[in-house]
Amino acid sequence: MGINRRQFLKIAGFSSLIGLGGTSASLLRKSILEASQEEQDPRALLGKRWALVIDMSKFKTEDDYRRVIDVCHRIHNVPDIGNPKSEVKWIWKEEYENVFPSQDFDNQYVEESLKNKPFLVLCNHCDNPPCVRVCPTKATFKRKSDGIVMMDMHRCIGCRFCMAACPFGARSFNFQDPRPFLKEMNPEFPTRTKGVVEKCTLCYERLAIGLIPACVEASNGAMAFGDLKDPNSEVRKLLRDNYTIRRKPELGTLPSVFYIIGGKNNA
């Protein structure tokens, strides 16, 4: 017997196709796994749906904002690029009328002091996050256990679909290597490389060792953190006792960051 060149090529081609198919099938199975720590710290804070309530009436001085923003950016190695085109930010200030654009159209006679009052904005950790839906690699995903919208910066391919999808402008892209722009480096938290998207991850690394998010800790009680699914949590108590609003509720993403606006006296 013996095969001619044509038959040999056919067989070789088909068998390599089958080989490739088998590999991708096994990879498909693996990708279903969610990233997890090997062993849980006994001190870890556990919740079913973490949320923040930000009482803006308690932010009075420039320092109240600065403290919160600085601690976050310092411990998470967020670079200070110094130019708005390629800046990276996890939590920052935006004026009321920009944070709640549809509210502003409803009430153009809103008091000037409120209209221009800076509000703290960050990732809303939506119940229904469009960024997670559009990510082609699951590099951003909603953690099943507590609803945090996480980032896997080693998987991100930098396509920036999530930035187009996020209705809250919460995401930043590393347009260049961020490391030269770090004033000091926190060795406890990873730095990022160029070409990946990043954002607030609700201090998952602190929750894992029993600490509340750094912004909440630094806010002197102006921000509260807790579990929405626990009726006795601090956030649920605040939501019961105060009128709160969320950003762009009409889009149905269900943010888990709530704002207490405060009245004239507080602004």
């Binding site: 997670v132 559009v134 679909f161 347009f175």
Partner: protein
Amino acid sequence: MLEKALVGDRRYWGWICFLLAVMGVGLIFYLRQFSFGLGITGMSRDVSWGLYISQFTFLVGIAASGVMVVLPYYLHDYKAFGKITILGEFLAIPAVIMCMLFIFIDMGQPTRVLNVLLHPSPSSVMFFDMVVLAGYLVLNILVGWTTLHAEKKGIAPASWVKPLIILSIAWAPSIHTVTAFLYAGLPGRHFWLSAIMAARFLASAFASGPALLILLALIVRKFSKFDPGKEAIQALGRIVTYFMLTNVFFLGLEFFTAFYSKIPGHMMSFEYLYMGLEGHGKLVPLMWASSILSVLAIGLLVFPQIRKNETLLAIASVTVFVALWIDKGFGLVVGGFVPNPFERITEYWPTIPEASIALGVWAFGFLLLTILYKIAVTVKEESGGEAIH
């Protein structure tokens, strides 16, 4: 058949060298982008997609438009297109490859590109876009190559090709529909959040693609002994006319919804693009140029007497192509990002490195197109142009 691309006159090699030079410049800038990051482009935190993704979007349309010659020939037995189906298929191949390259050069971490396959995410439209584009590429290579090969040998193509042709006809609209879904399903971007987006994409594709095909057919006739045929070119002209009208109609529908409802979010991007918003209006001249060219093109196309003159038809085709390139290959993507989610305005303009990289990809596409067309035209010259089916 590839050897046919290796024989050519001085003009042919001059053109090839020119394209290689443009590619070389693009490559040098790309290496810079690869080492520094996307910071060398004009893109920003607010306008996070720019020239690259808009070229991708535009070229998906060009790729899909191949169906405009394949469908009438195979489903309606429209004989005049028999000579040029191969031109449609061989336009689709470089167009899809350019799409893939534009996605690739837009990636922040291009070395991780295989993550899209390692972690397939069916919830992402990007995943489906990859599937449909790759499928469309394979279909066009198989169909184009086998039918041309059969023509060269003077026999009918193998029987398994026909089902693939039918599949490719159904497949073509899918690539542009899925591309429209990249935009039309995002909750916070009013400009893109429109049910007519996919229909508008298809209309503009079926105008700009055949317009390019008319120009290519005229060039082929001028530089070779193969004549695609007056009737085929006129039929393409009619296709461009109808779809250009449809496209302008669809754009008008967008304007109506935005400006009659007077919902601020719906109006803002249109205001930014066509009037300027809060003193920012970098794109206004471009968008008006697009509108004026569209009107001009329709003026030339709707009257059969004008359209029948091939010189005027060529002018109309250039006009259509440029008008739609500005509209979809630039304004549509940038406009969606302005204003940003905080209703602040950040403007975008491509940088020189960015434009050079984009030009490099276009040059690569034209190089592929030239090679494929050279092969097809040489075969046609030898066979007399009529495929056997």
